[in-house]
């Protein structure tokens, strides 16, 4: 295609287009956004695949994530070591999953990861309590929190182990009418 850009090779751009839901222009724009998070850290030339990571604190200050109560968890779920420092690959991956075109199943997997605060592959009661407190900014009384978490587990838990496994979560979220429209970040 026409424009000469030196950030990526053409093969790299094609590979990114195959692996994400983004078009060429969007990938270049994403790189621009990534670069402006930490201009001295992120090189402009990615043709030899440099290995640099932008720290968590800079990423959660992006305007798209700034107001999200789960921003730390989102960034941590997409980082390799769970510490929240994202390389460009992971950065693109994050926005690709959160984009409009990602299918429901893929979003459900990552939503499960995000809400799993203690990273044990189950949404146990503590995870639910933390989620609820973030959502309501701790405005609910402890009894109300307890009630809501119990009701949630009662509604969604299929195998009766008092916590939500991925299958329970997926079964519940696949019927939610709002899930696709709310679990969406536009960049």
């Amino acid at each position: 295609m026409g424009n000469k850009q030196t950030i990526f090779t053409d093969e790299q751009l094609d590979a990114y287009q195959d692996c994400t839901f983004f078009t060429r222009k969007e990938i270049l724009r994403l790189h621009g956004r990534y670069h402006e998070l930490a201009p001295h850290l992120v090189p402009m030339d990615y043709t030899n695949e440099p290995d640099c990571k932008v720290p968590l604190s800079l990423i959660v200050n992006m305007p798209e994530l700034k107001e999200n109560p789960f921003r730390n968890r989102i960034v941590e779920s997409f980082s390799e070591g769970g510490d929240g420092n994202l390389s460009f690959n992971e950065f693109v991956d994050m926005f690709s999953v959160l984009s409009e075109m990602a299918p429901r199943e893929l979003k459900a997997i990552y939503a499960f990861k995000i809400y799993d605060f203690n990273v044990d592959n189950f949404l146990c009661k503590e995870d639910l309590e933390k989620t609820l407190n973030r959502l309501t900014k701790e405005e609910l009384t402890p009894e109300e929190v307890e009630l809501v978490c119990d009701k949630t587990i009662e509604e969604a838990d299929l195998d009766g182990d008092n916590k939500l496994s991925f299958a329970d979560f997926e079964n519940m979220i696949s019927r939610a009418p709002d899930f696709l429209s709310t679990f969406h970040i536009r960049i």
Partner: protein, 760 residues
Amino acid sequence: MEALKEQVEEKKKLVATLRNKPWRMKRRLDVLKEAQDFVEKFEGALGKGKGRRLYAFKVMMAKKFIKFKRDFENFKTACIPWERKIKDVESHFGSSVASYFIFLRWMYGLNMVLFGLMFGLVILPEVLMGLPYGTIARKTVPRAEQDTAMDYSVLFDFEGYCKYSILFYGFYNNEKQIGLLKFRLPLSYLLVGVGIFGYSLMVVIRTMARNANEGGDGADEGDFTFSWKMFTSWDYLIGNPETADNKYASITTSFKESIVDEQENQKDENIHLRRFLRVLANFLILCCLGGSGYLIYFVVKRSQDFADMDNADLSWFEKNEVEFVMSLLGLVCPPLFETIAELEDYHPRIALKWQLARIFALFLGNLYTFLFALFDEVNEKLEREKIIKNETELALAHYYANYSSFYNTTDVPPPNVHPADAIRGPCWETGVGIEFVKLIVSDVQVSYLTILIGDFLRAVIVRFLNYCWCWDLEAGFPSYGEFDISGNVLGLIFNQGMIWMGAFYAPGLVGVNLLRLLSSMYYQCWAVMSCNVPHERVFKASRSNNFYMGLLLLVLFLSLLPVVYTIMTLSPSFDCGPFSGQEKMYDVVMQAIDQDLPAFIGNIFTYATNPGLIIPGVLLMVLALYYLNAVSEGYQQANTDLKKKMQAARDEEKNRRNNKDSTNQVMKDLEDLLPNKSLIPRPIEEEPPLDVEKVSKPTKTKPGSSGNGVNLQKEVSLAAPNPRGPVTHGPGPRGGPPLNTRGPQPGPARGRGRGGHPRR
């Protein structure tokens, strides 16, 4: 060889679904590279033998096609306008308000295609290849009107030069073929008119089908209340701190409400009073609807009388009465319905549905009353036309008679009358077209004024008067307005309905609408960002986006009806428009089939319209409907049965776990007795799918994770099989002689006798 081909195909499929896999990016990139290398290496090898070149050619074409598709997709996304604007609105107001603007943008795309069709196939040929202005009667302003034809007020009413331009039906000539290309304009006009509906229908249904896949599969309302609230209530699009605060507050309120609902039953106060109030409210609203319908009919009738009077005597108000009244009704009635609905005391979501249904009924009633009144006018015009037609024929006959008797020849040239002086009939189609255009224009004016006054002026007053007012204007009475999503979406849908109806009589209407949508986008975006505040409570009217699409489909059918009626039943004017001179408008198609297409196609059509063929066809469709309905009912039944089974299994599991402690102890005791054998069978886990092909249940990449299948524990029941140890040795020898005489060892017999006891 075959296996290799299969592998190559597999790798290709893998590459196509790569983005759906929940892997780390690095892994995806590596797998991609590997798959691509594999395919390249072996694809060449596969094309050995006879079909080699063809195979290689096919492969190359496939690659080029993929590249072309990707470039086209890139180009398409680059063309989508207003992404930044919509993103701004989304981050400030959340996804529900932004959905209106996304709908507006979609409408704009649809109208652009319709305009392209109309412009390219009807307007442009007439302009380029048809006769220019002033050459024939229908294209010229009549002598009587010529001095006022350029006045601004006349143009504003779409009379004068506007009326005799490409905007309206009357301008088009009925020559069968025009210009060098022998372009068949009348046929094209008819086909485009019908094609507009066909294309719109196709697009709406395609969008509905796409949305239907996304919507949840109809879980009951109360099944997952808390879970959904917990996991899907936060809108990830929000990027504005004020909106975020609002959202936190609304989520907290919503949780508190659900908790209250859960904890106590709603006491049902006086149910009779409530029923009476609801009946009363519905009665009042029906009165309102009836009243508004009658008002419109009355006003349209009056406008016909005004049309007979001299134009100069009428005030602006009287000239534009119809449009003014219709827009006013559309403005005043919805808030009125809302206030009456306070009597009913419904849950907000149900109240919203009722409100939408009533507004829909209002708009529909208004539109159809308007149409009926219009058609009365049309019939009147047709009557008048007959008289004029007779007059002109009489005048022409006189002229010929005089001429031939005077000059004594039979070769009579056509009368030399200037086009502006010719007698012309009342072109009813142009009249209808003008009415529609005036309606749309006044609709636009009213809606823009409403936004200006209702939102902007209100915001300015609240902001600046707040400094010197007794109570807090911002928190109290007027405060800032909220964006009325459902009202605006309904307005858009009905506007589109009017365009569909009017496009046949006024080809320029689609272009006018395009301009309107464009300006609407910018204007409303500005208004919403500067004058509105985010909603406090958000209630979606329905579960899926298909609610508004369904309304649009309904409106499409309803606007199809008048147009089809006129094409089939009413006769076109005899001296204006592309169908002048025909008995009915569709005669153009019949003529084209008879004269231009080969004979057998005409035969096919004659057979196809035979009732003997149509009635069995209709019967067949009815039977198919009945069958499909029965099948779908069967599926629903199976669905509910499965749900019940799942529920029963869940409850059973829960009971088991609750009783687990007591049984476990018994089991533990038993286990102690038998050191070698464990009674409790091992828990069965589903095999984590190792095959990378499976997309539906992917493996997790975190270390130490088990398979994500449901862990089924085999039930521990007390009625376990015989807790006896394995017989490690056979019975001892009994005695010599009996063994010998008995023949074969009793081993196998023993096994048979016990029947299936496991031997270790």
